[in-house]
Symmetry: C2
Subunit: 225 residues, 2 copies
């Protein structure tokens, strides 16, 4: 049985967004022509403009999809959840065009006349939630302010991946992410929590393998095959 | 007496670089035409191409001048020196076109086909020196690795200013920089050092006022007036 009309529309929208992400990731905003995106998505211009106003609208959607590429795959809570989000992210940024394009566009948005804080504030909100739970669970040292630490972490991760991009095409991002937690945890976690938390490269690789497998399953289901 | 020929050449080179920085800062790489730079510098194309190969060469020079805009103005040593560099930087990024253009170009370099790690590694080397001195002075907690912490800090500052740029045109960068040290210091400094260090907005404003005044004096001397 063919999927109902509404479901097909959702699939088409997803297909266009994914194609746009791939093209933005490869060519940047300026180099991503609408024709390239149409060709990659295998849809008509009519279909694209039914779902998106223009190229900038597509870019904003891709920028703001970052969180959804990671959070469904995080198994933990509290401070470990925050650590795990960054560990998965450190691998995902090498492999997932949607996340990679979102990050690239966020950094380059001034070059196409945009200044959208949402990609930053959405991550900061998500990190703050983890830290609020961590506080309730007694995992944070007393002086830590969840909102302030969350904002700092979003900035730190943003710059860390740019540095990693330039020196290693992000291959060393998992190592850098683990190093970040080695720097930060003694100052923010209670001794008890710090003793329990796992923030090493092995956990990063294992979490990523699980997220990647479930993401591929999801994509297969999403494509209706 | 007119300055000797070599001195004039140095002044012209400096004048072109400063004009280029202003134009890159305002228009980004793509929007910065050579003619705009010539007009701003008040020099001929011949003079520009005597000193610089092309626009990309100019951009690389501006990217790599960041450190020289700050370090001559830092009065302290060890961990306080590292803190002070970031405090002055948090103000200077709002006011100094040379630093602002350097940072903008570093972030946007992929859009003009460049992937130069020097702006990151030069800062990391400078930060690591401060941390090595801090270690000798007994200011660092034992688990801290100067090289690893220096790299993390460069990434963290890079992303922090991008976040600040989008939400406040960097007006809140001094506050964010002070917050960064509130997050970091308990984990990296010995209790004795942490008690001595000053990392607040008042110190940031005072250091910047002194650096700004001496920078303006330097610019006047440099222009031979």
């Amino acid at each position: 049985m063919a999927p109902p009309k509404q479901e097909r529309a959702v699939q088409t929208r997803e297909q266009i967004l994914r194609a746009a992400a791939e093209v933005f990731d490869e060519y940047g905003y300026a180099g991503a022509g609408i024709n390239k995106i149409l060709q990659r998505a295998g849809v008509t211009a009519g279909a694209l403009y039914f779902h998106f106003k223009n190229k900038q609208d597509l870019a904003v959607e891709v920028m703001n999809a970052q969180r959804t590429t990671i959070e469904p795959h995080v198994p933990s809570i509290g401070l470990q959840r925050l650590v795990d989000i960054t560990l998965i992210w450190s691998h995902s940024l090498q492999a997932d065009p949607m996340l990679r394009a979102g990050v690239r566009l966020t950094g380059e948005q001034a070059t196409f006349g945009l200044s959208d804080a949402t990609p930053y504030t959405v991550w900061a909100g998500s990190f703050e939630q983890c830290l609020e739970v961590a506080r309730e669970r007694g995992e944070l040292r007393e002086h830590v302010l969840p909102g302030e630490l969350a904002e700092f972490l979003v900035g730190a991760c943003t710059g860390m991946q740019e540095y990693a991009q330039v020196v290693s095409a992000r291959e060393d991002l998992p190592r850098r992410t683990v190093a970040m937690w080695r720097v930060l945890l003694p100052g923010i976690a209670t001794a008890e929590a710090a003793g329990r938390l796992v923030a090493d490269q092995q956990r990063a690789a294992e979490l990523w393998a699980a997220a990647d497998a479930s993401g591929r399953d999801g994509a297969r289901t999403g494509n209706g095959t």
